[in-house]
Symmetry: C2
Subunit: 207 residues, 2 copies
DNA sequence: GTCTATATAACGATAGAC
DNA sequence: GTCTATCGTTATATAGAC
C-alpha cells in the first residue's frame, strides 16, 4: 500500500467537514481549518472564495455521503419494515450528532440559501425514500393501509434527528436507542390475517 | 398599565435568552448581548461572571419556562392520548427551533456540565412526564399494554425535536406538522375490543 | 500554488473613573 | 452600578514574496 498524497484542496475540504460536524459553521474558524489541514492561509483563499465557499464544498460532500450511506441500507435486502429497522438501528456516532441535521441549528447556514440547500435536499430525499418504502410495505400488508407514507417517513426522520438531541443532552447514546425502539414498536407489523396481536415482536429488548 | 422598569440584570438575561435561541452560544457575543440589553460592558461583568455565567442564568430560565409550558398542556384536561396530542399540536415557533433542544448542537454547551445540565434535566423531565401519561393511557386501555412507556416517551420527544430540524431545513413549518401527524396516527387508540378504527375522541373517563 | 506578513474588525475580559 | 478606556487574542481576509 502506498500512502496516498492528498491534494491541498482535498485536505481543506476534509478538515472543514470534520470541524463543521464538531463545531458547526459559526463555531469553525478558517484558522482552525488551516491548522487541521496543514495548509497556509494562501492555499485556502487560492482554491476557495473563503469560509462560505469552502463550507459549501464540505457540506455538499457530507450530504452526498449521507445519502449514499442511507441508500446502502434502505436499498438493501429485506422487507420494507426490515429495511426501515436496519436504517434505524444502523451504527451511528450518536454523540457526535448528524453531520447534516446539526447544520439546521446554525444561524448562518439557515440564513444562506446556498448552504442550506444541500441540507434540505438530503432530508427531503430521505423522506421521499422512506415514504416509498412505507407505501411498498402497505401494498405487502406489512403496514396498515390507513397510514400516510409521507407522514410516517417524516416521523421516522424526525425520530432519528431528535434522537441525536436526546443523546447529546444526556451525554449518552442510550436515549437515541430508546426512542428508536419506541418507534419500531409502533411500526411493528401486526399480522394482517389475525395472528397473535403482540406488538413489537421483532424488537429484542423488553419482551 | 404602568410601563415596568426592568432591572439591568433582568434585561441582560432576557437579551441573552433571545440571542441564545436565535444564534446559539458560540454564535452569541457579549457585545451583541449588551447592545440588545442597552447596557455597558461594566454592568454585565458586575452582575455576572462573564459570558458563561450569564448564559447559565439565561438557560436555566428558559429551561424552567419550557417545563412550565409543557406541564400546562400535559397536566391539562383530557385523556392521556388527548393530552399527548395537545402537546404535539401545541402552537410553536417552529422555524425558530426549540430554545432548549437547539443548545445540544452547541459544542461549548455540551462541553460544559454546568450549561448542559438544565438542558438535560428539561428533556429528562419531559420524557418521564410523557412516560407516566403513556402508562396511564395503558391502564385505561387507550394504548396497547405491550408498549414501553419510556420508549414511547422518548419517541415523542425525539419526533418534536427532529421536527424542528426538518422544518428549519426546508424553511417551512409543514414538515414539523407532517411528522407529528405521522406519530399521532401511530399512537391513535385502536379500540381494544375490535371497534371501528376511528381515532381521536372516544375516551372512557373524564370527557 | 503555497507561504508569511499584514490589516481591520470583533471577541471576551479587565481597570478604573464617576 | 454603570460607564468608557483599554488589553491581548482571535476572526476573516488581502498582499505580496517565493
Amino acid at each position: 500500500m502506498y500512502s496516498i498524497r492528498v491534494s491541498t484542496p482535498e485536505r481543506l475540504i476534509e478538515a472543514t467537514r470534520e470541524l463543521l460536524w464538531e463545531r458547526g459553521y459559526v463555531g469553525t474558524s478558517p484558522k482552525a481549518i488551516l491548522q487541521r489541514a496543514g495548509a497556509g492561509q494562501g492555499s485556502m483563499y487560492h482554491h476557495f472564495t473563503g469560509k462560505p465557499g469552502l463550507a459549501l464544498a464540505a457540506i455538499r460532500r457530507t450530504a452526498q455521503e449521507t445519502r449514499a450511506a442511507a441508500e446502502a441500507v434502505l436499498g438493501g435486502p429485506g422487507s420494507p419494515y426490515e429495511r426501515i429497522e436496519a436504517y434505524l438501528r444502523r451504527e451511528r456516532d450518536v454523540l457526535r450528532g448528524c453531520p447534516v441535521g446539526r447544520l439546521t441549528m446554525d444561524p448562518d447556514v439557515v440564513a444562506s440559501d446556498d448552504l442550506r440547500a444541500p441540507v434540505d435536499e438530503t432530508l427531503d430525499w430521505l423522506r421521499e425514500r422512506l415514504a416509498s418504502i412505507v407505501e411498498e410495505g402497505q401494498e405487502l400488508g406489512e403496514f396498515p393501509p390507513a397510514l400516510d407514507g409521507e407522514e410516517i417517513a417524516a416521523t421516522i426522520v424526525a425520530t432519528v434527528q431528535g434522537g441525536y438531541v436526546l443523546a447529546r443532552a444526556s451525554g449518552s447514546a442510550a436515549a437515541f436507542d430508546t426512542g428508536v425502539r419506541g418507534l419500531l414498536s409502533l411500526l411493528a407489523p401486526r399480522s394482517p390475517a389475525g395472528d397473535s396481536p403482540a406488538r413489537g415482536s421483532s424488537t429484542p429488548t423488553k419482551a
